[in-house]
């Protein structure tokens, strides 16, 4: 039954609903796949021992004639940034090794209520700080397209799990591109919803004015199905939006007809092309834009003059907020504690935080502490917040002229493990196309646009829409996805190398 892992979540859901396949069979197939390939890929930090029991419970309810939600019985991988009561939650950090949360994150609770079967927790850069998963305290995840390359980050585990057919769906978090950039380098689909559209309650906070939870999948429709489950207002999250969201699965289904492209105004950002972008990435991007144009879209060049300051502003705002959020790791209430003979609480705390945090986390905490210090606050943090206003204005001006903005999702294809690990600024540059959406709170999606002509690795195209217009992203990307899959003759991931699961 190993081909069950090749089904999309929508196909699997249909087979489950018709009784053709049981959730136990579907879950066992994915656990078998994890056993076969995860020694190489290392997408998972923890595999759920109880998954089969949960699946059996779904089968019994369905067998008893209960009407279940569409995704009931479909397996789900969960990024380790989200807390779970039945599995450890570490956020990729040693300081939280073995931490068992007393409550479930809201999105996890909603997924369980919808009958999704939690397969396990996926690897990530420590506290979601990174673009490669190499900053995980538990070792990197590898890209299923080339095991010597990075799967993106911070959500490389969720993207790799989906790309390697270890799970049909996964949950991710996106603070500066941590859902979209891994989607780009693994040939998968990732969505960062509008800020506040999905609850962050139970997401171990990185930068609270930027963090957003979203779906990771192999198709636009599957992402929409999962988004429908996890979205909506949550009284436990004070930044959660009270808004009447449409069905994103319905938007994806409607978009696949291609009607949406007729007269659609697509903006291409002058500042996000050329220098800094791998030629083959830009080539793939241009080909997708031309395809949209050939099917009725109007392509408009737009300018976003302040996007070039986005990465700089982001690396002030994020460390500032992270240094505050990570103050909770004090060695008293939870997490690691290092023994310091005769030491005070403060000595123990300082020794613990030195031992428990990895180099990138320390770098950002120290940077954030600096940016927030008296004398520097106005010049750095204050200025960065002003840049945020300017970037919002750039988006507002752009969306006066166009319906969606299209960009390459990231400047390069997957780079080799270790290549940028010792150069923080080179690592930070990976997020230059994804960061503006987080600073402005607008939704973004990355969908595969093809394979790069030079290295044969996946490339993603990013669409951005105004805040609250997440459904527009699903319509437009489903339309492009349908055209591209038609052109390719099969989904992009069919061309990924076979993982044989043998020791490397």
């Amino acid at each position: 039954m190993s081909d069950l892992t090749k089904l999309t979540a929508a196909e699997l859901a249909a087979s489950l609903a018709s009784g053709e396949v049981s959730s136990v069979e579907a879950t066992e197939a994915h656990l078998e796949r994890i056993r076969a390939v995860d020694g190489d890929v290392h997408a998972f930090l923890h595999v759920n021992d109880a998954a089969i029991d949960v699946a059996r419970g779904i089968d019994e309810r369905r067998g008893a004639g209960e009407q279940l939600p569409e995704l009931a019985g479909v397996p789900l991988a969960i990024k380790d940034v989200l807390v779970t009561t039945d599995m450890p939650s570490t956020s990729g950090s040693k300081i939280l090794e073995g931490y068992m949360s007393p409550y479930d994150a809201t999105v996890v609770r909603k997924a369980r209520e919808a009958g999704l079967v939690a397969l396990g927790k996926t690897n990530m850069d420590e506290f979601a700080m990174g673009s490669s998963t190499e900053h995980s305290a538990y070792g990197p995840t590898r890209n299923p397209w080339d095991l010597d390359r990075i799967p993106g980050g911070s959500g490389g585990g969720s993207a790799a799990a989906v790309a390697a057919f270890e799970a049909p769906l996964a949950l991710g978090s996106d603070t500066g591109g941590s859902i979209r950039q891994p989607a780009h380098v693994t040939g998968t689909v990732g969505v960062k919803p509008t800020y506040g559209a999905v609850s962050r309650y139970g997401s171990i906070a990185l930068a609270s004015s930027l963090d957003q939870i979203g779906p990771v999948a192999r198709t636009v429709l599957d992402a929409g199905l999962l988004h429908d489950v996890i979205g909506g207002h949550d009284p436990h999250d004070a930044t959660s939006l009270a808004h009447d969201w449409p069905s994103f699965a319905a938007a994806a289904r409607e978009g696949a007809t291609g009607e949406v492209l007729k007269g659609l105004r697509v903006g291409v950002v002058r500042e996000l092309t050329g220098t800094g972008f791998q030629a083959s990435v830009e080539e793939s991007f241009r080909a997708s834009v031309a395809l949209l144009e050939a099917h009725g879209a109007e392509v408009v060049e737009i300018s976003a003059p302040h996007f070039e300051y986005a990465t700089a502003a982001y690396y002030l705002i994020l460390p500032a907020e992270a240094s505050s959020n990570l103050a909770k790791f004090d060695s008293v209430r939870f997490g690691m504690r290092v023994e310091v003979p005769g030491g005070t609480v403060e000595d123990v705390m300082s020794a613990t935080r030195d031992a428990g945090f990895g180099p990138e986390v320390k770098r950002r905490i120290i940077l954030g502490t600096y940016a927030l210090s008296a004398g520097y606050y106005d010049a750095y943090y204050g200025s960065a917040q002003k840049v945020r206003t300017l970037i919002q204005r750039d988006f507002a001006d752009a969306f006066d002229k166009v319906d969606v903005i299209a960009t390459p999702s990231a400047p390069t294809t997957a780079f080799r493990l270790g290549e940028k690990l010792d150069d923080p600024l080179a690592m930070y540059a990976n997020d230059l196309a994804t960061i503006p959406a987080n600073l402005a709170g607008v939704p973004g999606i990355s969908v595969p646009s093809g394979l790069a002509s030079d290295d044969g690795l996946p490339v993603g195209i990013q669409f951005l829409a105004p805040a609250y217009e997440d459904a527009r992203l699903y319509r437009v990307s489903a339309a492009l996805e349908a055209l591209l899959v038609d052109e390719w003759g099969a989904p992009l991931l069919d061309r990924a190398p076979v993982l044989n699961g043998e020791a490397r």
């Binding site: 123990v348 935080r353 770098r363 502490t369 210090s373 600024l425």
Partner: protein, 99 residues
């Protein structure tokens, strides 16, 4: 060049409660210097007429009725504690000898 010195990094470590080793101070000094030089460009466009944005979507403060809810039991609260006496978190001395 920014003003990042080893002494400043050591001081930031104290503020952030991270006991940095000498090697960490040395590497962080160089790295922060490069990072700060790169991100300082924000001040080029952050002129006084531009208002600051703290949150991307304008939000109002959220209140709820002041009634107890969503509480953890003592056991749940202590379950992840590095040390406790069963009812409270246990820590080492709050004050050092010199205090």
């Amino acid at each position: 060049m920014s003003d990042i010195t080893p002494d400043l990094v050591r001081h930031l470590g104290v503020l952030a409660r991270i006991q940095l080793s000498d090697e960490e101070v040395t590497s962080l000094t160089g790295e922060l210097d490069a990072i700060v030089a790169s991100i300082a460009q924000v001040s080029e466009v952050a002129t006084s007429d531009v208002p600051a944005t703290s949150h991307p979507i304008p939000l109002e403060n959220v209140f709820r009725e002041d009634i107890p809810g969503d509480m953890l039991t003592t056991d749940e609260a202590l379950r992840n504690a590095p040390d406790s006496d069963g009812t409270r978190f246990r820590v080492t001395a709050i004050l050092g000898e010199e205090q």
